[in-house]
Subunit: 333 residues, 6 copies
Amino acid sequence: MSCVVCFGELMLRLAPEGYRRFVQADSFEASYGGGEANVAVSLANFGIESRYVTKLPSNELGQAALNSLRHFGVDTRFISRGGKRLGIYFVEKGASQRPSKVLYDRAGSAIAESELSDFDWDSIFNDKVQWFHWTGITPAISDKAALLCEAACKKAKEKGITISCDLNYRKNLWPREKAKEVMTALCKYVDLCFANEEDAKDVFGISGKSFEDVAAQMAGQFGFSTVAITNRQSLSANDNGWSAMLYQNAGDGAKAYWSKKYDIHIVDRVGAGDSFAAGIIYGRLQEWEAQKTLDFALAASCLKHSIEGDYNMVSLAEVLALAEGAGTGRIMR
Amino acid sequence: MSCVVCFGELMLRLAPEGYRRFVQADSFEASYGGGEANVAVSLANFGIESRYVTKLPSNELGQAALNSLRHFGVDTRFISRGGKRLGIYFVEKGASQRPSKVLYDRAGSAIAESELSDFDWDSIFNDKVQWFHWTGITPAISDKAALLCEAACKKAKEKGITISCDLNYRKNLWPREKAKEVMTALCKYVDLCFANEEDAKDVFGISGKSFEDVAAQMAGQFGFSTVAITNRQSLSANDNGWSAMLYQNAGDGAKAYWSKKYDIHIVDRVGAGDSFAAGIIYGRLQEWEAQKTLDFALAASCLKHSIEGDYNMVSLAEVLALAEGAGTGRIMR
Amino acid sequence: MSCVVCFGELMLRLAPEGYRRFVQADSFEASYGGGEANVAVSLANFGIESRYVTKLPSNELGQAALNSLRHFGVDTRFISRGGKRLGIYFVEKGASQRPSKVLYDRAGSAIAESELSDFDWDSIFNDKVQWFHWTGITPAISDKAALLCEAACKKAKEKGITISCDLNYRKNLWPREKAKEVMTALCKYVDLCFANEEDAKDVFGISGKSFEDVAAQMAGQFGFSTVAITNRQSLSANDNGWSAMLYQNAGDGAKAYWSKKYDIHIVDRVGAGDSFAAGIIYGRLQEWEAQKTLDFALAASCLKHSIEGDYNMVSLAEVLALAEGAGTGRIMR
Amino acid sequence: MSCVVCFGELMLRLAPEGYRRFVQADSFEASYGGGEANVAVSLANFGIESRYVTKLPSNELGQAALNSLRHFGVDTRFISRGGKRLGIYFVEKGASQRPSKVLYDRAGSAIAESELSDFDWDSIFNDKVQWFHWTGITPAISDKAALLCEAACKKAKEKGITISCDLNYRKNLWPREKAKEVMTALCKYVDLCFANEEDAKDVFGISGKSFEDVAAQMAGQFGFSTVAITNRQSLSANDNGWSAMLYQNAGDGAKAYWSKKYDIHIVDRVGAGDSFAAGIIYGRLQEWEAQKTLDFALAASCLKHSIEGDYNMVSLAEVLALAEGAGTGRIMR
Amino acid sequence: MSCVVCFGELMLRLAPEGYRRFVQADSFEASYGGGEANVAVSLANFGIESRYVTKLPSNELGQAALNSLRHFGVDTRFISRGGKRLGIYFVEKGASQRPSKVLYDRAGSAIAESELSDFDWDSIFNDKVQWFHWTGITPAISDKAALLCEAACKKAKEKGITISCDLNYRKNLWPREKAKEVMTALCKYVDLCFANEEDAKDVFGISGKSFEDVAAQMAGQFGFSTVAITNRQSLSANDNGWSAMLYQNAGDGAKAYWSKKYDIHIVDRVGAGDSFAAGIIYGRLQEWEAQKTLDFALAASCLKHSIEGDYNMVSLAEVLALAEGAGTGRIMR
Amino acid sequence: MSCVVCFGELMLRLAPEGYRRFVQADSFEASYGGGEANVAVSLANFGIESRYVTKLPSNELGQAALNSLRHFGVDTRFISRGGKRLGIYFVEKGASQRPSKVLYDRAGSAIAESELSDFDWDSIFNDKVQWFHWTGITPAISDKAALLCEAACKKAKEKGITISCDLNYRKNLWPREKAKEVMTALCKYVDLCFANEEDAKDVFGISGKSFEDVAAQMAGQFGFSTVAITNRQSLSANDNGWSAMLYQNAGDGAKAYWSKKYDIHIVDRVGAGDSFAAGIIYGRLQEWEAQKTLDFALAASCLKHSIEGDYNMVSLAEVLALAEGAGTGRIMR
């Protein structure tokens, strides 16, 4: 069985109950999440062996974060322990015209201040590993983390492991200029690039007359063999349209595949992009055709919107059922 | 005052909070419910004397289940006590494209293993009793329960009591073939048959070009004087259309009555069919005209969708107000 | 800096969790609210010095009510303490076709039984005070309260303070006839009158072919320089349309300004009118143009619908962002 | 089977969660209780037919209060409906040196303002009724209620029904002088009087060198055939000693019976006296000997301290087990 | 590193909140537990590789149960999936004189109905495995489970693996006679036997003048090299004394070791015996001296009483600190 | 009226529910606290004008922290806004032999990185200010904060304001050596010094044969006119003894005053020392005699142990009642 390695930051996620605002909160729901960890959990839920790499403090919060991954069967043996603190993010759920809000409190986290010596990439990328996934958040959290990211990419490339990256631009973590510089350097290692409708412009300044055009430019500039772009149509904090495009630059020419659009009533939209990425990776590992892969990934991420927390707690069977046409929400008993 | 007897299984209902999935649940909301008990509670809330018959274990859970009925004034004096366990069902609330899910854990329950000697139908159907209601779930839970159902029907018929049955096909309880065989035998006692848009096909293999056609076939085959069919249009787990048809096969010919359609934003849809059945029974006991009866029943079941739990906790006045045209949801103060 | 005085009743608000009905409630969420207090909190959140005047019992519940205002920086130094009880209101959240329901339990409250001597209006309306706001609920709670209201209006008028009143007709507090009589007398002090689509008819028997027509009649009859009318289009308990009109009767003729309409998915609609009034008052204090004032007020009250409790916990920046065109609910991080 | 009638006020009980103070409460646990209702529920839990008489408002809160009694099988058919409001009491749980605190908000309740015509005592005290129980709280809530109490006592006496009264002096409801006057008049109807260690002095000014002495004086002065006195030794809000004495003034001379003392770790002490009274009444209805009756009643009330809410939710078997010597709290499985 | 295998039943544990009774419960806290699983989790928390073997249904509840073990790093790869249901136990927390109560609803569970073919003991007991632990509950749940237990013991013995058994007599699962017969046959494989102060008598009819005497008889009769007996002194449901004795029957003669006694204020006492067993196993794997092993095990189980749920969520460092003399509960910051 | 200024760090406090451990937490109760803020709230609750000075981030969490102080009437106008983050502390409640545990996550907080220019001490210490209080935590959080502390002390001294300091040694914030150096320099400004039984040794290396001896050495070395020492006797995480000594070094010689000892059943012991300090300051502002001041302060801090959260939510009347002899915890109604 193949194994996927994900590398990034795992945070404590604190959310006021229901639609309460931060200033009303007398309690926070606590869970754990982070772009790459979310992908690792999704893949583990689909039955893929997934391995998550990060650094977590040696205290109880670090342990709880690690446990949250073991819970779903993610391999946590290569997580480094130590450092000063666990990154935290606060999220307030929006409603109607009031947007959801995220406050990051992640500076100085264990992974942001980790050293190259904390990770033995040679052991991490052992023979079973076939895929390496990271996101644009990882190099953004600190210069050290960017170096780590590069070291990992180099080693993965060296070993012939497929590398995917989700651009995931976060304006509060770094300015556009720096993002462009760092990501341009790192993207040369990347085979498959994920982006949403704004990332390409935010990070690389690439825009185009269509998603296909944008993907073609990205593929051209960085040599991506595949570009996957999700498209969120935000009607309100409760109701979104959700679709995606998969652009494949195969030997015999490039081709774009288009998904259907889901009209979604949102329970929790954080992690939707990650659940999409996991779906694409899963399809590729199964060597499915592009359209089937895209439909599966979009179905997975559609379901994510109905689930509280960062992690996409759905089974393979549930995603397949939706991808193959369910979706009326009729009760199952 | 007339009295309605309902007979079936009452279960502990365990539901994760909000939209949480089973695998996320660190607590379950506990309530009690079951098709026939739901009808009994609805009728009690409308001011009808209702009597519920089942068997419950002698332990605290059995007592709590019984108390949940006394709470609303249902007559519980004929409930038999004993047996090994209380049936349980777990329900996970769906959202958007993710369907609600029910897990039954009811095998070996007190009622499933009850004996004919546990019930004295002659006393249960005393002079006040005018109506007997059961559903297709009861004979499905065990062969013993099917025998009990037959005994009750026979006695009720003997005493001239009107009998209604809701087909309520549950594929996890019995296969279609067995359902057909058993229900065919039992339906000969039934005056009024409730079905949803799929039951007739699932149980009897009856389909038709319209609901009216299906009802006519059912009435023809089993001699039902009335057939009531609800029609759920499932747009998503949150949004449903809801309407119904009432088919009356009176002496002077058959006639179908059609309801309006409600566009419903769902809080909890379990028990909607039961609340509809209770509405029809109520209208019949009041000797209302068919159209008024249908409108009342649909309004009652429309409101059920806005209420947590199996039981339809609405008053007669609230249902009448909606049936007569309210429904904009404007605040009342 | 200018100061706004609000005068009225502050109540304990008890609401069953989520969509639970009163008869299901085994706990109540507790907060505090009341028409005029809601305006005071909104203004404090916008950075305006606001002063709230009422009478609260000397017990812990009275203290908790007072604390809820200090929490947001409202000046509570002129609140009188004493009397027998704190008014309470119970609110059950509606869903779909089931309306929200309010049960008042406010008879005999400290403010309803307060005396003229409980308040020193001369001190309350000190030099900083520029605006006085009250609603039609205050004179409705008791004859004593109506007298107090009149005393306050007189003193405010004497000092050249702008007076605004929200008609806020509550049929359970007084009959239409009495409301008309008392409000007619009090409205002669009022400069700016707020109403919803039904108040003008309920209180004054004024109806018209359009909102502008109604406002013109009101302005004509009572000499209001401004009339602001909100318009709720109730599709269901979950979904409402929300818009407003501002009618200005300036020296050079009258003019009506119209807002856009928001399609709102409701979290909690109590206090929406109050948040609108606070928005208008804020715009006027900033000497904004009428259209900007109206747009700001409607945006503020649009956001209120997404917030649990009576108080509109939004910042100036958030309201401005919506008024200036945000509103897609896209996540902010 | 014999039937016991209890008459008094049933209130909504609102308690902050855990040990939170009123000023911290953002939610209240809601239940229902009141001295006489607590006795009725205890008796129903022991299998006695108990009938509760009061007046409750016609709104949803009144209905919920009524349902809370039906839940346990109490006969609620003679409850009058109407009036303005449901009485409320707020209770804050003490800990260590901080005492529990009760805030009454019961003025103007339906029962306080009920009329003689609201109750048909002749029907209420039908042939099955053997016992009538009320407490000193009932005549304290209003003059009307005191008259009602007298009317009930007269009718009960006339029918040869045993009457018991728990003095239950509440200093916030009436002054000592008035209590003495009213209770002196009413106690002439009473056969069995319950008191705690302070009531006799508070209400009648009776004190003595021992509980036996006090009981003898009470029996002498009012002709009680039995006096039962509970003795609470308050070490802290968490830890109490709990014992009791039963004084029987039989034909052949008076005799005092003494219980053991329980060292109790308190979960909720409200309603302990009521659970004791119910235990004594139960023993008397069973015609148990005095010592067995006392031991049973004290065991019942000992268990009450371990149960949240006013109602003593214990079974006959549980009380008997403790009365007969269990009490080590060893787990049962 | 050595590996410990535990085999038994893992159940869903449902507990009303706080001190609420079953009949009051409107929600249940959900967790997972079972004697042998509790030992596996304890060992994993101490850093030992532990492997848990059972059968769980293929549904979401079975998955959640399995996840609860992965959460703590227990190896779940040998858990068989299938069967009809997950065993459930309900537990109500006692207080003061009211005992805790357990209701088992485990009949027909997947493990109770599992077959020999569900487990490949040869693979399970691979080269790393040094220890095998089971309890008297496993053979009690069904005859099939008893056969499985025997098969596992045989294979473990064959491979030279140390076997420990906790007698854990449960009177609701089997009668004393059957327990004696089955356990006598199985105990011949056992090296280390755990018992509490009642088990030896309940299962084997062995009593004695002291714990040492009882242990000597057990060792004599069954050839146990070690017998460990815990001693609970139940003052109330809240306060217990807790101590233990370790009896070693080494080559050079038998010796008994005695622990100190802890005075414990209980949070949750379920699983205390299991946490003790895990402590003894840990000490033996570390080859600690008997007294140190005993002190460690008792400290571990002392801490378990302060932790909600079945699993003992304490670290090695915390247990060592208590075993070495901490225990004043002074805050750590 | 006199005014007290408190200066230090205000943190978000996150605590798992009940006795749950960090690794079990799926939610955290959120409140706000910090040594000096706790003193400010206590004094405000006693009716003293208290002013709190710190720096809080401009985001919603900073606002919520500030609101928590306004809630109790603390003057927050001199709080500086800005910086990167709000300090956080996690606290897990201990039970029995398991100690409570605090995890600090406060590095890089707004106040830790604030500049001298953030505060205008001349305005802060205006004419009304009579007292300035800080604790040893403030200079420990950063070198910048230590400088700020010194600047504040200098200005206060200059203005003749009384200065009190609670040593509050925290080993995780700084080593003993540094604490000694910095605190020695700062303590020369201090008039009244608070310490617990360990602080004097931890910070200054002062130990003695008695508390009086220790206090005398401290007074001698630093010129404190008053030293107040609390004494916690930790029996378990639930049960503590609590007493204190007040050492006054008046013109006519030194004298020690001793309190009684309270046996406390703990709800939440965080902030107990702060509530004691507030009591002493209150007594001194009232110019009470030393013994009365000490008794009041100890009673206040005794009650704090019964209250959830950092803030001591008790009234003056409640503290006086306990100081004057109440304390049996008998219910008040």
